[in-house]
Amino acid sequence: MKEVRITLRNAGKINPESIEDYIKAGGYEALKKAKTIDRKALIDDIEGASKLRGRGGAGFKTGLKWSGAYGVDSDVKYVVCNADEGEPGTFKDRTIIENDPHTLIEGMLICAYCIQAKECFIYVRGEYTHCIELLRKAAADAEDKGFTDGVKVNVVGGAGSYVCGEETTLLTSLEGYRGEPRLKPPFPTVAGYLGKPTVVNNVETFATVPVIVDKGSDWFGSIGAPEYPGTKLFSLSGDVKNKGVVELPTDATLRDLVEGFGGGVREGHKIKAIQMGGGSCGFITEKELDTPLDFESMRAIGASLGSGAVLVLDETHNMAEFVKGTSHFFAHESCGKCSPCREGTSRLEEAVEDILNGGDLNKNVALINKLNDVMSMSCFCPLGQGACTPVVSALKLFPEDFKAKKEA
């Protein structure tokens, strides 16, 4: 299987700071083309023929989201790009922005045209200072060249919280409040930024839109898996020989990615676990390497495509130690709004720590299961709902790691 570069088509070929380079590579042609098409027809085309689905993790149909915002009667609408890439092991959005910031802006401008928005925001993870600079320059250049056509593109630095990557939290943070999730419904497409209809999409989703408009939805829809077509960017990291961002059609398998592009694990070692989708996802083992990298196939084996993070661990790792790290991460990143997550995440960390310190295994496992039961059902947002998943998954797949710790 070869890498197919659609979203990353310009990566390494153009100077990301130069709008001329982007234009020479065919940039902003899609925007011009889009403006000749009827708005509703364009949205329907993206929804029906390209079947483009959100690349942030939830896999929601992009066209459906846009038509939601399009259908709401309001003079003011917004387009927001979620570039608060905080999921552990994910670095694909940064790769896109650092290589080709204009494709993101073009995608957003196409969306702004479709839903008739006059203002766009790119909420960039605060730590990505280089990305923020690049995007600010790109937005200014696009405005100078007249591509924005009255649409204002604002680049906002994130407030430094993992939960701000959740769309309602992102909007709350963008409004200047504490980064805390808010209730859905109303969904952002109805009442988003400042209560106005807002489309929130991931960087990768927006960056893919110009190519779809340019080359046609049918072309895009024919690539990869039928229900999740196109390509997906994967952030491959961990104990593989080659780490990095790889763009693959969605009918490629995990083996293509890990063994083909990653080159497998070091000589003399073998894969122990792969965490697919990011820090709040469970683990899969070598047995599932032949699963295609699309949304439905991953869900079918109980894993998740998520943000496209693929973290490979070899047998030198103790999974109990590993999930101690993830549970600490969630305890640190919980916003504190709802009680099960606020108190539960740190109790989860305590329980894992207690196991590592030789505490009663059965008691702690029972406690972890109890926490999982309440948090997965009662928490306000996906952070709390998924915080126990890696621990429960590790306990199920690698119980010996937890026992070994006790005996050691």
């Binding site: 709004k337 606020r342 108190e343 009662s378």
Partner: protein, 479 residues
Amino acid sequence: MAEVKLTINGKQITAEKGQTILQAAKANNIYIPTLCHFEGIEGRANCRICVVEVEGMRTFQPACVTKVSEGMAVNTETERVRAARKATLELIMAHHAVDCHHCMRIGSSSEQSLDPKFCEMCFWCDCERDGFCELQTLNREYHVDVLPYIQHEHDYETDDSLDSVIRNPNKCIKCRRCVDVCGEVQTVHNLSMANRGRDIMVVPEMGKPMAESACVRCGHCVDVCPVGAIYMKEHKDEVIYMAHSYEDDVVAQLSDDVLPELDKLYKLEPGTIRIGQVVSALHKIGIKNVVSDEHAAFLAAQQAAEVIDKKLGKEPVIITDSSAVMNFVDRYFPEMKGQISKYDSKQDVFGKLAEEFKGEKRLKTVNVTNVKEAGAEAKETGNVDYAINARELYRIFMRTGGAPARKNVCAFDKSWNDGSLPYAQLLKSKAWNLESDPEELAVLVDGKPVKCAVAHNLGQVRKLLEGDYKKYDIVRLMA
């Protein structure tokens, strides 16, 4: 209003479109436990106690904010939901300074060995909320006992800088009712949330102590706190001591605004306890002179009437008897200060009036009222020795066995022959509310109607002082 059909626990019910599951359930006498929810304030769905199962939804939904929809099937008491609620309560309890279950008298902190009735008769434990704490009530309902976690109780210092409104962050359950009341309703914006995760806490302006913060001492955060994290400093020991001391003469002014709250605390039907029974109960604990607040109300209203008569028609009449309003004006509308006429509150009047009772012994004055700012006012101005609110009165009665509902009706110890209250419609006692708009009314002055507005909370005060006061001839401000 469009109607929606849904089932709750298998029972077919009809609700109005736009109602929450909680509202629909309440209207149909189906009980759903709540903790952070406060009637009249928009739900935040923070505590996750009111979660219910909605068929077709992946996760439990909070009943306080989830809107009803056609054909919805809700289950409020399944085993899983109850288990989740209990697990949430355990998590909350493990980070809560539990002063209530540690019984010093029976030497146990186990839920099973504590009889709620016994607890309510005792009050030896430390928490000011014991007996009417919403968290405690839920813990009893869900049999929360031995916690599977290490207790984190005393991470923070108690902020008693005001010596009236006291905050004990160790008991805070982060429901944010106080933040909402302080910010959204009173528009003081003093209390807010700081930090994140487990370290999240309610802090006054910029993390300062209450005494140095923007707090205007209105006392409403105390009233809405479901637990003992914000409370009014109690003086029950002093009052009981004074009442029995040979050196002191105690005079109490009793206001009938404590009655509804007393009924609620004693779990009686509204209107059960009569004012004369409370007089009797106060006699019983040793307070010899109990007077009604009607005379003080009359004298205070006379002062207000003088101002109205002097200014009406010449300049806008803005009157208030509240020191919290004056603090609020000082902070947010200093330029308006000269235009606002402060007249004596009932507590001020009573403080001066009580001199009449002075005999050989030291005179001690106690104002029994449910005006929320009374406690802070007594502390700040010294107009009376102590102000006792309904909750503290209940705790005094519980400790001394003076249940008013079992007492005979007794007359006040002194009465005055006052005429009718001037501008009664405008100047009579009015209750605080959560509305955003002030009350409008017309009073007759020399046979002509005069436009008046009454602010029932500080948010309404803000609205009036920002310019709306110009629409009225007389404006009365309450906190």
